[in-house]
């Protein structure tokens, strides 16, 4: 399981990185954390003519607050996000999610942007970005652009990133102090990709939950959410009979592309999603 050969470049800034990619073309790949790319290369599922190592680009690292948003540099490590006081204060759901995210050795190298750009269907950050209405800031040969999460994640490992694009940072509106959020994952082993998972948030007004929103991940090709479903669940929350939640979740998700895996078929994924949604609501209520 040794990787095939490749050239290696280590650009100092984004412009250099884009230029390297343009020079090497299709078969060159950006190297961020390497926690997904390098195993694929070790197994020879992937080969590259050149790996362009982004880890030297300081401008792509770090978390800063900017007018009601946190801007997370794409090269920020998972563990930097997980242990950041700023994130704990302003986007606590990211810290909640990080508890399920692989293991510390992986989190020390893997990057927020790398995970978003790969868009693994079971990954935490893409789901969080969708729920939090994040905007992806992309640098490309034709300049910079921003893509909202709902448009960014398009299919299985498919995103709005074009071949020569570079995801530079992710801007995320902060969670309000009156908000509650939770992350629930069902995984066979701690740190594994989940069998089914949800992230949910709601505002609290006068002790009641409002504006409930939920994202389902690890059950489809990409993280799944639906405004109508959010409203229906909000309605049920107001009504009080939470036992109705699993059925409406299953009905809603059945229209989406639910992906079976080696150990769970679609029915199982739908069922677990329903249970997790109800448990997420129970958790938000009890917090």
């Amino acid at each position: 399981m040794k990787s095939s050969s490749f050239a290696y470049e280590r650009p100092a800034d984004i412009q250099e990185a884009l230029a390297s990619k343009a020079r090497w073309g299709l078969s060159a790949k950006y190297l961020a954390g390497g926690q997904s790319l390098i195993p694929a290369m070790n197994m020879r599922f992937n080969s590259s003519t050149c790996l362009i190592d982004l880890n030297g680009i300081k401008s792509m690292r770090g978390i800063r607050e900017d007018g009601g948003e946190l801007v997370i540099g794409a090269l920020t490590r998972h563990e930097e996000v997980a242990s950041s006081d700023l994130v704990q204060k302003k986007l606590p759901i990211l810290v909640q999610a990080s508890r399920y995210l692989a293991h510390i050795a992986i989190r020390n190298r893997g990057t927020f942007g790398g995970s978003v750009a790969l868009a693994h269907p079971d990954a935490e950050w893409p789901a969080a970005c969708l729920l939090l209405n994040a905007r992806m800031r992309i640098a490309g040969p034709n300049g910079a652009r921003e893509v909202p999460a709902a448009d960014f994640f398009q299919g299985l490992y498919a995103t709005a990133l074009q071949e020569d694009d570079l995801l530079e940072s992710i801007a995320i509106p902060v969670q309000s102090p009156s908000e509650r959020s939770c992350v629930l994952e069902l995984a066979r082993r701690h740190g594994d990709f989940a069998t089914a998972a949800v992230m949910a948030r709601a505002q609290v007004e006068n002790g009641a939950l409002k504006n409930f929103a939920i994202v389902f991940f690890a059950v489809g090709d990409l993280p799944l959410c639906d405004k109508e479903l959010d409203n229906s669940i909000q309605h049920i929350i107001a009504g009080g009979d939470l036992s109705r939640i699993p059925d409406i979740v299953k009905t809603s998700l059945m229209n989406q592309n639910i992906r079976a895996d080696l150990y769970s078929d679609q029915k199982t994924k739908l069922h677990l999603s329903g249970v997790l949604a109800r448990r997420a609501v129970e958790k938000l209520i009890e917090i």
Binding site: S5, Y8, M43, I104, R109
Partner: protein, 164 residues
């Protein structure tokens, strides 16, 4: 592909070597520096046998390229043996038989020390959770948890009640 020069600190010594870019850190350290404590178990980042320290953080050596070590500080068990940083932990592992075939042991010790150096409180379940990225097939894990817990208490980390 042509080799690239890498300069870094290895177990507190400045070193330099040439490497094919495709070499991962474990193969690089084993081949160029004849270290035997860095090991591969799976080369896909799951088993944890390759765990070592780069710039003070534990990482999967099999998922990092040797060329990425440029300017970093790398610590392997060879270095920890000299500094004595985990001699209490090594002794606890030895006495409690928390090592059988030994193949997971280096990674397990690295991960354990990483937790011990940051933990404010300790419980068996917290230890199990933190070591959940390290595979052992011989011990069934309990002896390892016993050894780490014992060291945690000895180092003054206060114990908290287990979640049942």
């Amino acid at each position: 592909m042509s080799n690239i020069n890498v300069r870094f600190r290895l177990n507190a010594r400045e070193v330099e070597a040439q490497t094919d870019p495709r070499m991962h850190v474990i193969d690089f350290l084993r081949k160029n520096f004849e270290l035997s404590s860095p090991r591969v178990g799976c080369e896909h980042g799951v088993c944890g046998a390759c765990t070592l320290r780069v710039d003070g953080d534990i990482v999967r050596g099999c998922l990092m390229l040797a060329v990425q070590l440029e300017g970093t500080s790398v610590e392997t068990m060879e270095g920890l043996n000299v500094s004595g940083e985990i001699s209490d932990l090594q002794q606890a592992f030895h006495e409690r038989n928390a090592t059988q075939c030994g193949f997971c042991t280096v990674g397990m010790l690295m991960a354990s020390q990483d937790w011990l150096s940051k933990a404010k409180t300790c419980s068996r379940s917290a230890i199990r959770e933190h070591l959940s990225g390290n595979y052992c097939r011989c011990t069934g894990y309990e002896a390892i948890v016993d050894a780490v817990y014992k060291v945690a208490i000895a180092r003054g980390i206060s114990s908290v009640k287990e979640e049942v």
